[in-house]
Amino acid sequence: MPRPSWLRILLGVCVLGAFGLGAALWVTRPEPLAANKLPADHVDDVENGRELFLVGGCLSCHGPDPAQNPQADTALPSGGKPLPTPVGTFFPPNLTPDPETGIGDWSPETFANAMLRGVSANSEHLFPAFPYTSYQHMTVEDVLDLRAYLMSLPAVRQAPRGDSVPLSAIARPFIGLWNLLALDGKNFEPDPTRPASWNRGAYLVEAPGHCGECHTPRDIFLVPERSRYLEGGPHPSEAGKVPSLRGLVGGRAYATSEDLYDAFKYGEMFGYDGLSSGGMGQVQANLASINDSDLRAIVDYLASLK
């Protein structure tokens, strides 16, 4: 029997490696929702969709780019505004109901797949620069209402701008591996021992509000660390630190819950200067315009975090 040459061993390792990689990519391939996951008898609530659009901060990323298109209505999510990230610059796509350049001809399943599974309209993995790692915890009903709201907006023709993310085509299939760590596909679990307002706040913060995307520190795989939920840490994409959301009320800046409410509602106008920099400014502006009961719920929940 001839002794295997090093070359052959190497070849063997490569073949095995390629096979393993192929298997890993296959196992982690984009996995759409089963069609029966969508409730058949859902009645769209456009108002609720608008609320989730605000809490979810969709416009902060999916707004138009005034530099490219000065005439664009900045209140509509027609897409194209640059979103710089450590891996490159994204130009989040058009979410208005234009059938060719927006989501006009998407089925409810297609939209739900993006929000809950991070799977694009052409069945590829989406980059988690789109915070579906948080949106996955939304209820299916809320996702359908959000879609109904988007579909109620005026359609804007705005063709997608190519992202300038080097290696994006090569990296995309591998996002599934990361999702294995970052997605659990679980809905938000209410805590039955807590009042309804607290649970509403916890849901808004965790799922549509995606506060943890910035306020929860990330591990070496850049996955938010569940055990240190909302503890703050380095800013995920800019300079400086994101503060902790634990022990806020009774602390230095907010003596009472009412102060924290004022900080969200009025921000700098009342001298709360700590909610403007590093992307928080847009979040605060959104929170200032949501239903009062929802804002109170968020404050109730945050006030309970030790």
Partner: protein, 155 residues
């Protein structure tokens, strides 16, 4: 002669070195100074805004006290705008490089803030509640726009 020249050179070098060290030291000192000074002014501006909040909420009457707070805010802005010499940032500062790379927008931010503060002073003097509220909202927006673009979250 050569020896003398050497010694002379050494002395001159030492002297120049000393002067350079003093200059650098005082520059760093001046920079730390300028950062601390503008932070103090900003802090007072923030306290001024906090003092105006109860007036906005209607739990305090609009009057001289509000006018004084607004005047302080206006005065502090006019002082703070000159305390951002090129490159003056450090680990103790939240100033972003954009202040100098997009300086025109930064300075316009100060113009707008001063204008809005003046409008709050004026509305307070006239005790005109609706005008006061509108002016204060505008002033708050000027803080936010500037901090969004030109200041980073603290370390």
């Amino acid at each position: 002669m050569l020896r003398y020249a050497h010694r002379h050179l050494a002395k001159t070098t030492a002297l120049l070195g000393f002067l350079a060290a003093v200059a650098c030291g005082s520059m760093a000192y001046a920079q730390a100074d300028v950062i601390a000074e503008r932070q103090k002014l900003m802090k007072e501006i923030g306290d001024g805004m906090k003092a105006l909040a109860p007036v906005f909420k209607g739990t305090e009457a609009l009057g001289e006290k509000a006018e004084a707070s607004a005047k302080l805010i206006e005065a502090n802005f006019s002082k703070a705008r000159d305390l951002f010499p090129a490159g003056s940032t450090s680990k103790d500062s939240d100033a972003l490089e954009t202040i100098w790379s997009e300086n025109a927008g930064f300075l316009t931010g100060f113009d707008k803030a001063e204008e809005s503060a003046a409008a709050v002073v004026e509305a307070s003097a006239r005790k005109e509640d609706a005008d006061f509220k509108a002016a204060l909202a505008k002033l708050g927006q000027t803080c936010k726009s500037c901090h969004e673009k030109y200041r980073k979250p603290s370390n």
